[in-house]
């Protein structure tokens, strides 16, 4: 078969110009290698993000209502005062709602003797413990009586407990938040830092009534955590809550919500979106690197064709058709691309291994980069091989030999 003969001529040609072959292979190697690494990093990061959401404490049947318009964690209006205990009570009255935890939140300096630390203090109801599903490592959570009497009791997260007490047993000790002194009655079990560096243990909880009348001296809420009776009801409950709050807050039909929701689904969407943005960026980066590889191949082929015009002319004199020359050059570039693809994948896997080994970036190796590398490098070989090949074949034998 003529085509196999041309393939053989191509392989011979590559063997005879080892320098060019090496450079072209290197160009593709770099493109495919970075593609492999980038895909692996993308996959690794995605896995870590999903893990983090699971750690955020959102069960599938719960969501939070946050005061102020905006989206998820991002507020558009500052310090709104419209959300009240009345809202929380009205939500609690809904039949599809199981638990409602109204909350206030403040960042404040906590002091124990000479030690101090700034931490997030939440005023909440005793239901918080069940709604959040967070176990205590010592002592107990505050109860209804603490709420009624507005007692100055506090449950500490692991981070302020360590910073203030440095190994001393905090239970029964008094600490100060601003000028107000609190007795430590419980300790939250430690969760540990998340991937992004967020510290869920850097918090403390006090009864909402205490927070309202003794610490913050304000009655509006910062957020309400809602647990529906089942995950399927969440959407329905959210819509009911929206209507209720708009009514309670006397919003005109045209006004936007002065509150926003954080739901596991919303976070997922948000993560998915940022993931898509990330993926798009990664695809862009790897496409660029592949293009660079392709252009390297094309340029080297073009240059080598200029060097090899004589060879083309000689072959044409002795019976090579235009298509024979085209095929020979196509085979050369496809072969080089595939070779570069294989080495590129190996190189990429090596880099991934090192990234994991030295804990630099999360990576996860999947089969996609292999398929992509194979497809991309063949396409590059074809696309970038065609132009020089056709150019080579178009020359008339007489001209090429002058």
């Amino acid at each position: 078969m003529r085509i196999f003969r041309n393939l053989r001529q191509a392989l011979r040609g590559l063997g005879q110009s080892k320098g060019n072959t090496f450079l072209m292979t290197l160009g593709i190697l770099i493109g495919i290698g970075s593609l492999t690494v980038i895909v692996a990093i993308g996959e690794g990061t995605k896995a870590k993000v999903l893990e983090r959401i699971a750690n955020m404490g959102f069960g599938p049947e719960s969501f939070s209502v946050i005061a102020g318009s905006g989206r998820l964690f991002f507020a558009r209006t500052e310090n709104p005062t419209s959300m009240t205990l009345q809202d929380a009570d009205d939500i609690r009255a809904m039949p599809t709602v199981r638990i409602v935890v109204p909350r206030q939140r403040v960042s404040i300096k906590a002091v124990y003797r000479a030690n101090f630390t700034e931490t997030r203090v939440y005023g909440a109801t005793p239901d918080w413990e069940e709604a959040r599903g967070w176990v205590l490592s010592d002592g107990e959570f505050f109860g209804d009586e603490d709420m009624e009497r507005k007692r100055r009791v506090i449950v500490l997260g692991a981070t302020p407990a360590k910073k203030l007490f440095e190994g001393e047993d905090p239970i029964g000790k008094k600490i100060r938040l601003g000028q107000v002194s609190f007795e430590v009655i419980g300790l939250l079990e430690e969760k540990g830092l998340t991937e992004s560096g967020y510290d869920p243990d850097d918090r403390a909880l006090i009864p909402l009534t205490t927070s309202m009348s003794r610490l913050l001296h304000q009655t509006h809420l910062d957020s309400i955590k809602v647990v529906a009776v089942s995950p399927e009801k969440v959407g329905e409950v959210m819509e009911a809550v929206r209507q209720l709050l708009r009514r309670n807050h006397n919003l005109s039909p045209l006004a936007e919500d002065d509150f926003r929701f954080i739901t596991p689904e919303g976070i997922m969407q948000w993560v998915t979106q940022s993931e898509q943005a990330l993926n798009r960026m990664l695809i862009l980066v790897s496409t660029v690197s592949l293009l660079v590889g392709g252009i390297v191949i094309m340029n080297i082929l073009l240059v080598s064709i200029r060097e090899r015009v004589r060879e083309i002319g000689i072959r044409r004199c002795f019976g090579a058709r235009r298509s024979d020359i085209t095929q020979q050059f196509l085979f050369e570039s496809v072969f080089v691309s595939l070779l570069g693809g294989v080495f590129g994948v190996v190189f990429g896997l090596g880099v991934c291994f090192l990234l994991e080994r030295f804990d630099l970036l999360p990576t996860r190796v999947t089969w996609e980069p292999f398929a992509l590398a194979f497809a991309f490098s063949s396409v590059i070989g074809l696309v970038f091989g065609i132009q020089p090949a056709r150019q080579a074949a178009r020359l008339s034998p007489e001209e090429t030999l002058r």
Binding site: R2, R5, R8, Q9, R12, Q16, R310, E311, G313, I314, R315, R316, C317, F318, G319, A320, R321, R322, D324, S396, P397, E398, E399, L401
Partner: protein
Amino acid sequence: MSLIEMRSITKVYRNSGFETEVLKGISLDIEEGEYVSIIGPSGAGKSTLMAIMGCLSLPTAGTYTLDGEEVEQMSDRRLSRVRNEKIGFVFQAFHLLKGVSAIDNVMMPLMYSENVPKDAAGRARAALTRVGLGHRIQHTPGQLSGGEQQRVTIARALITQPRIILADEPTGNLDSKNGAEIMAAFDLLNAEGATIILITHEQEVAMHARRIITLKDGQIETDRRYENLPQSEAGPAGAGAK
């Protein structure tokens, strides 16, 4: 019908607006088995004429019929096949593939044949042996002398058993001893029946042929046949010109 029939062939090169008429109406016939020299000063258009004869380029006007087939009507495929099967080229600058062994160079035309003979390598080896290079088949052009390289190109020109051998100044890059060896090879080939068209600007080389065509300024000046004379003694003045 002659093997080669040219009628009023002209060739015009157009380069950035200006035209050069290199061939100005060439008409000639060459029969099967002839031994023809084309002679003339540098720039006369000899190589241009050979390129047209060898189907390496097409004439601007006129008709060229090769072995009964009009060349202007041929597709690239057909032209390639004709070059492969009917013509063998020998060039002044050898034009061997660099870095490729002698045997692979000689085999190259067979790679573009309609049917590759089973024993392509054996044929290439035999062709090299015939030109006295049986012991050098794995040498690359860089490892061979000029005379040896030209003998490789002769083996390459013969490998497809073409009807016509076209040689453009085959001795131009060789010393006289190597030149004489190459010319002896052509003489032998012609004696065996091959049609040989030899381009040269050296009288002495031209005298190996039985017919000498003088080209000047793109036109045929003289066209003489010298029959039945021992070539080494022949001279254009003393020979029985027709």
